[in-house]
C-alpha cells in the first residue's frame, strides 16, 4: 500500500477512532489516518500540513464535536483556497435530513451514517481508502 495516502479524521469519540483504526487494519492499512478530536485541531493540522506541503487526500468530519463542530469546520475548510479541493466526508450518527442537506449544500463530498456493525465499519474504511486512491 502507498504510504503517500493520508486521511484526516476529526471525531471526539475515542472509541470510534479505535474501531475505525481496527477496520483499516482489517484491510491491511496502517498509519494513514491522523486523528484529531475537534474542528479547531483539524484546521490547525491542515495549516501545518500545508506548510509541510503534505496535505491529506481526504477529510472525515464528525458533526457533533466540542469547540468547533463539523458543519463549522466544513464551512471554513471549503472557504479556504488552500484546502477547498480536498474532499470532505461527513461521518455522523445524526439521521437528520436538514443537517445532511446543509452539509451537502456547504460542499461535503458525501454524508455517511456511522455504522452499527464492525463489518460495515470495514466497508466504510475500504470506501475511504478507495476514494483516496482515485483522487
Amino acid at each position: 500500500m502507498s504510504s503517500a495516502i493520508k486521511i484526516l479524521l476529526a471525531d471526539d469519540d475515542k472509541e470510534d477512532q479505535l474501531i475505525l483504526s481496527d477496520a483499516f487494519e482489517q484491510i491491511g492499512i496502517t498509519n494513514v489516518v491522523h486523528f484529531v478530536d475537534n474542528g479547531e485541531n483539524a484546521l490547525r493540522h491542515l495549516e501545518q500540513c500545508y506548510v509541510e506541503n503534505a496535505l491529506p487526500q481526504l477529510i472525515i468530519l464528525d458533526l457533533n464535536m466540542p469547540r468547533m463542530n463539523g458543519t463549522q469546520t466544513l464551512r471554513l475548510a471549503k472557504k479556504d483556497e488552500r484546502f477547498k479541493h480536498i474532499p470532505i466526508i461527513i461521518y455522523s450518527t445524526s439521521l437528520n435530513n436538514i443537517e445532511k442537506d446543509e452539509c451537502i449544500r456547504l460542499g461535503a463530498h458525501s454524508y455517511i451514517i456511522k455504522p452499527l456493525t464492525f463489518s460495515e465499519y470495514v466497508k466504510s474504511a475500504q470506501y475511504f481508502y478507495n476514494l483516496c486512491s482515485t483522487n
Binding site: 469519540d13 472509541e15 474501531i19 457533533n64 445524526s94 435530513n97 436538514i98 452499527l116 456493525t117 464492525f118
Partner: protein, 548 residues
C-alpha cells in the same frame, strides 16, 4: 319737592300734628317766627277743610329745591275731584303763602303751597337729609303721634309686602320650575303656573289623585312614602330624584323634588314649601359618564386579561420549546450510547460466539434486539421533536414528488410484501416538503405493517378537492383495519393498538403525522372497520395563511 314728613288728615289730632310739623319744618328751614306761624296757619286752613270735607286726605311737607326760588312746601292731597277753590279756608290760605297752586287728576286733587326761604341755605341737600331723619326719629310729640306714626309705618310695610308678594308671584309664575306650598296634611295650597303648564293638571286634580297622575309608576311609591314621612313627623326634608310626566310630550322626564317645612309660617295654610326642577340633562350626563366609566373599567379588565393570556401563552410556548429542545438534545445524545451497545453486542456475537454456550448466544441476541428497539424509539422521538413551527418553512410542494420519494424509501418492504401501491395524480399545495414526505412515508409504512397476512396489500392514494380550498388525501387499503373508537388514541404519542410482539413499531408514526398536519393547519382522520381495511384521510389547505 324733597319730601320730609307726611301726615294723614282724618281728625282733629291730625290737624294739630299738621300745624306742629309745619312750624317745625319752617323753623328748621330758617324762617322767622312770624313766617313760621304764617306758613303753619296756611297749612292748617287747608288741612281743616280737607279733614272736614275731604276723602283720604293727607299732607306732605318738604322743601322745593328748584332754582331760583327755594321754598318750604306743603302738598295736601284729597281724593275728591270736585274740590272748590272758592272755599273760605282755601281763599285765606292762598293769601298767606308766596305761591298757591291747584293740580287735579281724575283720581285726586292736590293743593300746593310754597313759602320762600329768606336766605340761601348752604348744602341744602345734606340738610334735607338731616331734617328727614329728625322728623322720622324725633321723639313723638304726643301718644297720638306715636300711634299714628306706627300705623303709618305698618301700612307702608303692608303695602310693600303686598307689592313684593305680587312681584314674587309674577316671578314664580314666570319660572320654568314648579314651586308649591303644602298644608300640614300634605295637600297643595299654592302652586305656580308651571305646575299646570308642565303636568297638565291643576293643584286640586293633583291633590285628589295624590300625585299619581304626574309621577312615573316606578318612582311613585318612594315619593309617596317620603311625603307620608314628612307629613307624619311634620319635620325633615323630602329630597328625591323621580320622573315627572310632561303633558305636552307624554314622556317622563327626570326631576329633582324637594319639600321642606317652612321656617316661619306666613299664611295659615302653608306649612311646607317645595320645588320640582328638571334634572334630565344632568341625569343623562351622569348616566353617560357612568356608562363611560364602566366601559373604561371593562376595557381595563379586558386589557389585563389579554396581558395575562399573552403571558400564559408565552410561558406555555417557552415550556413547549424547552420540552422540544430537551427531547431533541436528549434523543440526540441518547443515540450515541445505543449505537455503541448495538455495535459491541454485534461485535461480540460475531467475534467471540465460540466463547459462550447456546443460552449466552440467545441472550446476546435479545440484548441486540432490545438495543435496536431503543434506537428506533430514540429516532422516532427525535423525528417528533424536530417537527416544530420554527423549523417549518412553507413553499410550493408537489405532493406527487413527496409521495414518490416516500415510496422509493419503502421500495424494499413493498417488494418483500408484494404490495401494490397506486398513486393518482396529486396536486401542488403550500407546505413543508420534508414534513409532507414524512406523512406519506409514515402512513404507507403503517399500511404495509398492518396488512393482512394472507392477502397482499393494495393501497390506493388519491386526492379529493372541494371548493373550501382544502385537499383531502385518501390512503385507502385492504389491511386489517381497526375500530374507529380507538382513533383519538392512535394519534397520541406512544399509543399502540397492538402488542410489541404482534407488530413492530414505536407508536410514533401517526403522532408525527398529526403534528405535521396540525402545523399545516390541516386535519387527519380515518374511516375503518376491523377486518375491512382502512381509509386514512389527510386534509390540507391549498395555501397557508402567512400570518399563522
Amino acid at each position: 319737592m324733597k319730601e320730609i314728613a307726611k301726615v294723614s288728615l282724618q281728625n282733629e289730632m291730625d290737624l294739630i300734628l299738621s300745624h306742629r310739623r309745619s312750624m317745625k319744618l319752617a323753623e328748621l328751614a330758617g324762617l322767622s317766627l312770624s313766617a313760621q306761624t304764617t306758613f303753619a296757619t296756611a297749612v292748617s286752613e287747608v288741612a281743616r277743610d280737607v279733614i272736614d270735607n275731604g276723602i283720604n286726605g293727607y299732607l306732605v311737607l318738604g322743601i322745593y329745591t328748584a332754582t331760583p326760588q327755594k321754598s318750604v312746601a306743603a302738598y295736601i292731597y284729597d281724593s275728591r275731584t270736585n274740590l272748590s277753590l272758592q272755599a273760605p279756608a282755601l281763599q285765606n290760605a292762598r293769601k298767606l303763602v308766596n305761591r298757591f297752586q291747584y293740580t287735579g287728576t281724575p283720581e285726586a286733587s292736590c293743593i300746593e303751597m310754597y313759602y320762600h326761604l329768606p336766605t340761601v341755605v348752604r348744602q341744602l341737600d345734606q340738610k334735607i337729609t338731616e331734617w328727614q331723619e329728625q322728623f322720622n326719629y324725633d321723639a313723638p310729640i304726643s301718644p297720638y303721634d306715636e300711634i299714628k306714626r306706627k300705623n303709618e309705618q305698618l301700612q307702608e310695610l303692608a303695602d310693600r309686602l303686598k307689592a313684593s308678594e305680587n312681584q314674587y308671584r309674577v316671578l314664580t309664575n314666570a319660572l320654568p320650575l314648579i314651586i308649591f306650598t303644602l298644608n300640614r296634611k300634605g295637600s297643595i295650597v299654592y302652586a305656580n303656573n308651571w305646575m299646570h303648564t308642565y303636568t297638565g293638571f291643576t293643584p286640586d286634580q293633583i291633590n285628589t289623585a295624590n300625585w299619581k297622575q304626574v309621577l312615573h309608576p316606578e318612582d311613585y311609591s318612594s315619593f309617596y312614602s317620603l311625603l307620608g314621612d314628612i307629613v307624619t313627623t311634620q319635620a325633615g326634608n323630602l329630597k328625591l330624584q323621580c320622573r315627572i310626566r310632561e303633558a305636552h310630550s307624554g314622556s317622563y322626564i327626570w326631576h329633582q323634588v324637594f319639600v321642606a317645612p317652612l321656617q316661619e309660617v306666613h299664611r295659615p295654610d302653608d306649612y311646607f314649601i317645595g320645588y320640582i326642577v328638571d334634572i334630565h340633562a344632568q341625569k343623562e350626563f351622569e348616566q353617560a359618564s357612568r356608562d363611560n366609566t364602566e366601559l373604561k373599567a371593562t376595557q381595563q379588565r379586558l386589557k389585563e386579561n389579554e396581558l395575562e393570556l399573552t403571558q400564559k401563552i408565552h410561558q406555555l410556548n417557552r415550556s413547549n420549546n424547552d420540552l422540544e429542545q430537551f427531547a431533541y438534545i436528549a434523543s440526540h445524545d441518547l443515540q450515541e450510547p445505543v449505537r455503541k451497545m448495538i455495535f459491541y453486542s454485534d461485535y461480540f456475537s460475531k467475534q467471540y460466539a465460540h466463547l459462550t454456550d447456546n443460552k449466552g448466544s440467545i441472550y446476546l441476541e435479545n440484548m441486540l434486539q432490545a438495543s435496536h428497539r431503543m434506537r428506533n424509539l430514540i429516532n422516532d422521538l427525535l423525528s417528533y421533536s424536530k417537527i416544530r413551527k420554527e423549523v417549518t418553512s412553507f413553499e410550493q410542494v408537489s405532493l406527487q414528488k413527496a409521495a414518490g420519494i416516500a415510496l422509493q424509501d419503502l421500495e424494499l418492504t413493498i417488494k418483500e410484501k408484494q404490495a401494490k401501491v397506486t398513486v393518482d395524480v396529486l396536486p401542488v399545495i403550500e407546505g413543508d416538503f420534508s414534513q409532507l414526505t414524512q406523512v406519506f412515508q409514515n402512513i404507507v409504512s403503517n399500511a404495509l405493517k398492518y396488512s393482512k397476512e394472507q392477502e397482499p396489500l393494495q393501497l390506493h392514494i388519491y386526492p379529493e378537492t372541494d371548493n373550501t380550498g382544502m385537499v383531502h388525501l385518501h390512503f385507502k387499503d385492504n389491511g386489517i383495519g381497526f375500530d374507529t373508537r380507538y382513533l383519538p388514541k392512535m394519534f397520541t404519542l406512544f399509543q399502540r393498538l397492538h402488542g410489541k410482539d404482534e407488530y413492530e413499531g414505536t407508536g410514533f408514526g401517526l403522532a408525527i403525522c398529526k403534528k405535521i398536519v396540525d402545523l399545516h393547519n390541516g386535519v387527519i382522520d380515518a374511516v375503518s372497520e376491523p377486518g375491512k381495511g382502512a381509509d386514512f384521510i389527510v386534509s390540507l389547505p391549498e395555501t397557508q395563511n402567512k400570518k399563522q
